[in-house]
């Protein structure tokens, strides 16, 4: 019996908890991508760098607050800095929309032109982030590191395996739940949210009903920027902040959005968790887990790892391809680009 409990705890500690946190971060990012896609109808390649930019602002404000001795221990100071980051992200998103995308919207350019423009924005945003904060790793987490520590858990339960829950992981899930609840409330209950859904479903019909397209686009950027800031900050607290890593997050985020069904908020969340759980479960070495459950002589010699962690991008990609081939609309019947 103990062995089974130990095995469950081991799996929870190394697979379920990290994947839940990572999945929530991806889901928040994918929500931003999917909303921009639903309203502006292009895949925004600058989203990863928008996340990096917003997180950078949060980090800078956090440093200032830390220097001033302001904090909310045991929670990280970054939480107080978050609103500033959100405002900065909204400001730069609206600014790029005004300077770049609006022109092509008025010209009714092909979606691919928007994508190329977003590559230009990506370059510029990337440059700004690197000039201001540099290309290196930055740490900005403070407050308590763990909600539950391994030793505490062992004392409580008397099991051999321990379970640690990092503050950042608990925080990720808490904040993500609040953000998603607020988003869904907005989309379902408010006039602006309904206008956005109508616009996303059928542009002509929405315009005919008197929906103001400028308002809709405005809200889309506000929401995407807010979610990008939250996702970026939580990812940075949980792992670490490095501009290039955020750029690379683009792939799993796109995968999550497409797997869930592009343009579908609920799909983006499910997609985020599908991608995160696949990445973590496939790259986890199961030897120790099996040792608890099977007689020692049945367990293979190697690590029993399906794929080395170096290939985690491959996993997002394989999921993406399988979904595109089997069900191109994604799990939740989104749009086909």
């Amino acid at each position: 019996m103990d062995d089974i409990l130990n095995a469950i705890v081991l799996l929870t500690n190394f697979v379920i908890v990290p994947a839940l946190a990572y999945g929530a971060q991806l889901a928040l990012g994918a929500l931003g991508v999917t909303i921009i896609f639903g309203i502006l109808r292009f895949a925004n390649f600058a989203h990863g760098d928008l996340m990096a930019f917003a997180t950078m602002v949060v980090i800078l404000v956090t440093w200032v607050l830390q220097d001033a001795g302001i904090g909310i221990a045991p929670l990280p100071t970054a939480l107080i800095a978050l609103p500033v980051g959100i405002l900065a992200a909204i400001a730069i998103s609206l600014f790029t929309d005004r300077c770049v995308y609006r022109f092509y919207r008025q010209k009714k350019s092909a979606p691919v032109i928007f994508v190329i423009a977003s590559i230009g924005v990506m370059f510029m945003m990337n440059g700004i982030v690197r000039v201001i904060i540099g290309p290196d790793d930055q740490s900005f987490g403070d407050g308590a590191r763990f909600l539950i520590q391994v030793t505490q858990f062992r004392e409580w339960t008397g099991l051999k395996e321990g379970l640690a829950i990092k503050m950042s992981q608990a925080l990720t899930l808490g904040v993500a739940v609040i953000a998603v609840a607020a988003l869904f409330w907005f989309m379902q209950r408010t006039r602006a949210g309904k206008a956005m859904r109508a616009y996303s479903d059928n542009e002509d019909l929405a315009l005919l009903s008197g929906v103001n397209p400028d308002r809709v686009v405005f809200y889309a950027w506000v929401i995407a920027a807010t979610l990008a800031t939250i996702a970026g900050t939580l990812y940075g607290l949980d792992k670490s902040f490095k501009p290039f890593t955020y750029f690379q997050l683009l792939l799993p985020i796109f995968a999550a959005a497409i797997v869930g069904g592009i343009g579908q908020p609920l799909g983006a969340i499910v997609g985020g968790f599908i991608v995160a759980f696949s990445e973590v479960t496939i790259t986890y070495a199961y030897r120790k887990f099996l040792l608890y459950l099977l007689p020692a002589e049945w367990v293979p010699d190697g690590l029993v790892q399906f794929l080395s962690t170096d290939y985690k991008f491959a996993i997002s990609f394989v999921i993406l391809v399988v979904v595109l081939l089997v069900r191109p609309t994604g799990v939740f019947r989104g749009k086909v680009i």
Partner: protein, 438 residues
């Protein structure tokens, strides 16, 4: 063909800019920039085939360039006999196991009717096959990687002249493009972009971590050269005689000479490719490609097989990119998978094609030259500007020190700005592609 006066002016200005570098900085630097400009042009030419001729949105240029690069290692490095004897048998079995697994999957799929059950069975068989292949592959890679890991630890190459790696690099990239195209080309533009982005990351992940193949991030250095070495030149009589008659210092002259040799090789490759590309673009085939790009439905109504043509051009473009990738590794003399970065190897090439003029081969070459030049020279220029802008802050200012340190990253910003400006104000690029009705 009529000569476009605009192209002459632009290329003339480009030549002047390179000469200015020669006079103001050094000729060795000017030639280094020229060589990389030439390689960039070839990469841009490859991407232009995919995007400009056919409208395929490939964001995986880096992957194909890296595959070309690994060809340089696999062709030119001497084979490591110990590694072959340590892991060769197991590796052979791996290949057999892989072939068997694929054969079983294909046969089972043929035998079964279409439907969710077939998808499920394929999935299960693929996982089982993967496990089966790993039984042979794991000991093989371990044995190979443990052969003198600090020096070799990989299978080595064929020990052939490195220049052969250029076409072979193109072939490897073409093979990969065939596989990618089979999977992803049915997709619409945005999906293809994301799919190719993913594939290039996977290729890089493999090159970084499959140490048995090309040593991964331990890098392969000291690749052989298609041109003489500086040290040899400095002891060769005819070369010493040449430098003496020119009145140049032998050490500096030798490095310039080597770079000129490379430049001549690259110009020859670029010339051949341009000739072929121009011939193709102005043939019935080229007109068909443009017709497909501009209106797929009507091209299909004319009986053109759009999917096949897309696959064809995707493979051709990837082959050209792979060729350029192999040339780049040859020029560097080393293969360092850790240095491949999508901003530099994918998106920068995109900037080149868009700025030069999508669909126009000469435009891509110009874009390759111009953008690489700006990319390189933005660093000293950015430093100089930043120095000027912050000179009021005083020598000891930490802000000034930080800004000066981060000035090189300004070039990313500049690239984005150039791309957006061209896209907005001159969306057809510096040298727009000619269309009949104009």
């Amino acid at each position: 063909m009529t000569v476009n006066p605009r192209a002459c002016i632009y290329f003339g200005l480009m030549a002047l800019a390179l000469m200015a570098v020669g006079f103001l900085q050094s000729w060795s630097l000017a030639l280094t920039i020229l060589n990389l400009c030439l390689i960039s042009s070839i990469m841009a030419l490859g991407l232009n085939m995919q995007w400009g001729y056919a409208g395929l949105f490939n964001v995986g240029v880096m992957g194909f360039a890296a595959l070309g690069g690994v060809a340089a290692v696999l062709v030119s490095q001497p084979p490591v006999a110990e590694a072959w004897s340590a892991g060769g048998t197991d590796l052979g079995l791996t290949v057999l196991a892989l072939a068997a697994a694929i054969a079983i999957i294909v046969l089972v799929r043929r035998a079964m009717g279409k439907g969710p059950l077939r998808t499920f069975v394929t999935f299960v068989l693929a996982i089982a096959g993967y496990g089966f292949v790993r039984i042979f592959f794991d000991p093989a890679s371990e044995a190979i990687e443990s052969v003198d890991p600090s020096k070799t630890g990989y299978l080595g190459g064929l020990g052939l002249p490195i220049i052969l790696a250029w076409p072979i690099g193109g072939l490897i990239a073409a093979g990969a493009a065939w596989m990618v195209g089979k999977i992803a080309l049915g997709l619409r533009a945005d999906y293809l972009a994301i799919a190719t982005l993913g594939i290039s990351e996977i290729v890089l992940a493999m090159l970084k971590h499959e140490d048995w193949l090309s040593r991964g991030v331990k890098n392969v250095t000291g690749l052989s050269r298609p041109v003489p070495y500086e040290i040899e030149l400095q002891t060769t009589d005819w070369f010493l005689g040449l430098t003496e008659s020119l009145g140049a210092a032998p050490i500096e002259a030798s490095s310039v000479f080597v770079k000129i040799c490379y430049a001549l090789l690259f110009v020859a490759v670029l010339g051949i490719l341009m000739w072929l590309a121009e011939k193709a673009l102005h043939s019935p085939w080229g007109r068909m490609m443009r017709a497909i790009r501009d209106n797929e439905t009507s091209a299909e109504a004319m009986g053109k097989d759009v999917t096949r043509r897309h696959l064809q051009i995707f493979i051709l473009g990837a082959a050209v990119v792979g060729l350029a990738g192999a040339m780049l590794v040859t020029l560097d003399g080393q293969f360092t998978p850790g240095t491949y970065n999508p901003l530099r190897y994918t998106f920068l090439i995109w900037v080149m094609v868009i700025v030069g003029g999508s669909g126009n081969n000469w435009g891509s070459v110009l874009g390759g030259f111009l953008i690489w030049f700006v990319w390189v020279e933005a660093e000293p220029a950015g430093l100089w500007l930043m120095d000027l802008a912050t000179s009021g802050l005083g020598e000891s200012s930490t802000l000034r020190a930080h800004l000066l340190e981060s000035a090189p990253h300004m070039r990313l910003f500049v690239m984005g700005l150039i791309l957006l400006l061209v896209l907005r104000f001159s969306p057809r690029g510096l040298l727009p592609a000619k269309t009949r009705h104009q």
